[in-house]
């Protein structure tokens, strides 16, 4: 198990480093003058000069890439074109909002998805099971940004129940929470469907397994069989799948941030693309990739730790 953790950390490190190189190389992968690519065809002379200097475009390609990688590794992501602020600090400001959004979205999805899935599994083919099935499919097929837009339409515009813009003040938790409700729900909707279905399928498979038969045969109470024995087994593949989907979740956070005008990495990156503020784009994407890789790692390791068959290698029999 320990060896695996090291291997996994190593792999994650390789991915991140590779990403740094790719991002550093990106402008050069596309044919054409890098400055024109970054700034677009109608670039002013002064701005071009700034870009040239900032990105060291007069140096050989390898030097450019290496200096970016080296800078990234030490936390320096350059300065943005427009205001010459360090990219790292801009990202630092935006980062907490995105993380809070992603975490609360995931939390909401789990909070509602898991019980729904378990309940449906305990009453297979009942009306609630069918309802859950239909509901989960419907939820899965709503693209998060559509969900966000609809939610905003309904709750913020039509009903004026919740705010539509901004993230509120971090210092004022209640206000912040109020601003968090709609965006995290938008994120959570798709995932609720997935989780409910996944939990239901796992639970049904587990309840049909031999060891569940044993539990019933020895007279364990139903509640204990469902909520203790079966559920623990079902959580494991659920976490595994969640881990895989974390990247998508974080990517969807981008959309949700735009829709609800929340400050965050997503908004930062997209705005910077529109304003052709390339260093922020590059740095922001790198940070997002690091978050995704870290999240994947945590998910992967935690489900391996939860499953005793993996955690404790079987002794020779």
């Amino acid at each position: 198990m320990g060896k695996y953790i090291l291997k996994r950390l190593g792999l994650a490190g390789v991915v991140i480093v590779l990403t740094m190189f790719l991002l550093g190389l990106l402008v050069h992968l596309v044919p054409g003058d890098p400055v024109k690519i970054i700034l677009g065809p109608r670039a002013s002379e002064s701005l071009s000069r700034v870009v040239r200097a900032e990105m060291q475009l007069d140096e050989p390609v390898l030097v450019q890439v290496w200096s970016f990688v080296r800078g990234a590794a030490t936390g320096d992501l350059g300065r943005d074109f427009v205001s010459q602020l360090p990219v790292t600090s801009l990202i630092q400001q935006a980062f907490p909002h995105t993380v809070l959004l992603a975490v609360s979205g995931l939390g909401l999805a789990t909070l509602f998805g898991v019980p729904l899935g378990v309940y449906a599994a305990t009453r297979p083919n009942s009306w609630i099971d069918r309802l859950t099935a239909i509901l989960s499919v419907s939820l899965i097929t709503v693209p998060p940004f559509v969900a966000g837009v609809f939610l905003l339409l309904l709750f913020a515009v039509e009903l004026s129940l919740l705010p539509a813009i901004g993230a509120g003040e971090l210092g004022n938790p209640l206000d912040y929470l109020k601003h968090l409700v709609l965006p995290s729900t938008a994120l959570a909707i798709t995932w609720m469907g997935y989780i409910a279905r996944l939990v239901r399928t796992s639970m049904l498979e587990i309840l049909g397994a031999n060891y569940s038969r044993t539990a019933f045969a020895f007279g364990l109470p139903r509640r204990q069989i469902f909520y203790k024995y079966a559920l623990k087994n079902a959580i494991i593949p659920t976490i595994a799948v969640l881990g895989v989907g974390l990247g998508t979740l974080i990517a969807n956070a981008v959309f949700v941030e735009i829709i609800f005008s929340r400050p965050g990495l997503g908004a930062l990156i997209v705005d910077s693309i529109s304003t052709r503020n390339y260093p922020i784009v590059r740095g922001g994407i790198l940070v997002v990739v690091v978050i995704v890789v870290a999240a994947n790692l945590v998910a992967d390791l935690s489900y391996r730790l939860l499953d005793p068959r993996i955690r404790f290698e079987a002794e020779g029999s």
Partner: protein
């Protein structure tokens, strides 16, 4: 045949038995009485009759074997007894009386209390019969707690679990009780299952092919544990198997099943020495024996019919050497012959079968 089995040492050992109740004693003394049991599985397209008119009984302290090939309904029988049929299975006729009570009259909670505590079951595949994400100790403790043994004192339950594990031969039980099932071998897992049973001391243990997945040495150990269970606690055992040799070693009585029907039953000596049903006879002949070394292995021609395409009349008729026209028309009744039961038209004077059944069988 049975003589040969006796010589090879695989014969019922009279010394290990508690004195059996006299065969004349009334049915109400029986621990388990199954009468005319019918079980049907419903699929999208068909209704399949997995069991039909199955009747037998088990007395306290008896070991009754249920023999038959794959697909004869043995597993369905055990599931029906424990009320663990899948959602598409249903008991459509007949009754099961356990400890004098009709099981269909019990509430779900009463059935739950019965399972494990009064009627328990161990399964064929020990590798998958224990929950992989909980320790052996937790599972043993929870099973006891479910039946309110020990008044919620988990430390006490843990001690009993440790003692029981040692009892069934798990070394270092005190440490190993905190291990997970996958850290034990198959043989040890089967013992843990037996320990789970022993700890509750049920009156009846249904053993569904408990040794089929084990090698001969382990099998012998498990059989020994079962014998001890009967000797020490007086537990009755319903031993389901396809292995005639093991059944001969262990059981007092045997029920032979074919295509969902009970076709013959009787005490083990009579059944093995003088089988009444052609199927039983043919089965016994297929068991290889030292005596007949060098001879071709006997088989029964044909195949077990699939439940969706059962022949009319006697289900064994297509493969029977003594078949007559009448057998294709009427399904034979389960009649009493000589203190045993057999489902064969040969022994039913009202069936229209020509010729004296028993002599034909012995000569044939």
């Amino acid at each position: 045949m049975a003589a040969a089995m006796k010589r090879s040492g695989r014969a019922p050992d009279a010394s290990s038995k508690i004195p059996l109740p006299h065969p004349d004693q009334k049915e109400c003394e029986s621990l388990l009485v199954v009468q005319g049991l019918d079980v049907v599985y419903r699929t999208r397209e068909l209704r399949l009759r997995a069991l039909h008119d199955v009747s037998f009984d088990v007395r306290p302290g008896q070991i009754v074997g249920v023999v038959g090939e794959s697909g004869c309904g043995k597993s369905t029988l055990s599931a029906a007894l424990m009320r663990l049929l899948p959602p598409n299975g249903e008991i459509t006729s007949g009754s099961i009386r356990f400890q004098g009570r009709d099981l269909s009259s019990l509430t779900p909670e009463q059935i739950r209390q019965m399972r494990g505590r009064e009627m328990a079951m161990i399964f064929q595949d020990p590798l998958t019969s224990l929950n992989p994400t909980f320790t052996v100790g937790t599972q043993l403790i929870d099973v006891q707690a479910a039946h309110r043994q020990g008044h919620r004192d988990r430390a006490l339950l843990r001690d009993r679990a440790v003692k029981m594990l040692t009892n069934v031969g798990i070394p270092d039980a005190v440490e190993r009780i905190n291990d997970y099932p996958h850290q034990f071998s198959g043989g040890m897992r089967q013992r843990i299952m037996i320990a789970m049973t022993l700890i509750l001391e049920p009156q009846l243990l249904i053993a569904d092919e408990p040794t089929s997945a084990l090698d001969v040495t382990l099998e012998a150990q498990v059989l020994e544990l079962l014998r001890r269970l009967r000797a020490d606690k007086g537990t009755a055992i319903l031993f389901i198997s396809h292995d005639l040799g093991v059944v001969a070693q262990l059981c007092d009585r045997v029920v032979v099943m074919y295509a969902g029907r009970a076709v013959e039953d009787g005490d083990v000596e009579s059944l093995f020495e003088r089988p009444l049903h052609p199927y039983t006879k043919a089965l016994l002949e297929t068991v290889p024996s030292r005596e007949r070394r060098g001879e071709r292995l006997a088989t029964i021609p044909g195949r077990v019919p699939s439940l969706s395409a059962l022949p009319s009349g006697c289900k064994f008729a297509p493969r029977c050497s003594f078949v007559q026209e009448v057998n294709r028309g009427k399904e034979p009744r389960y009649l009493e012959v000589d203190g045993r039961h057999v489902r064969c038209n040969m022994y039913d004077p009202a069936s229209g079968y020509q010729g004296a059944g028993i002599q034909q069988l012995e000569n044939g």
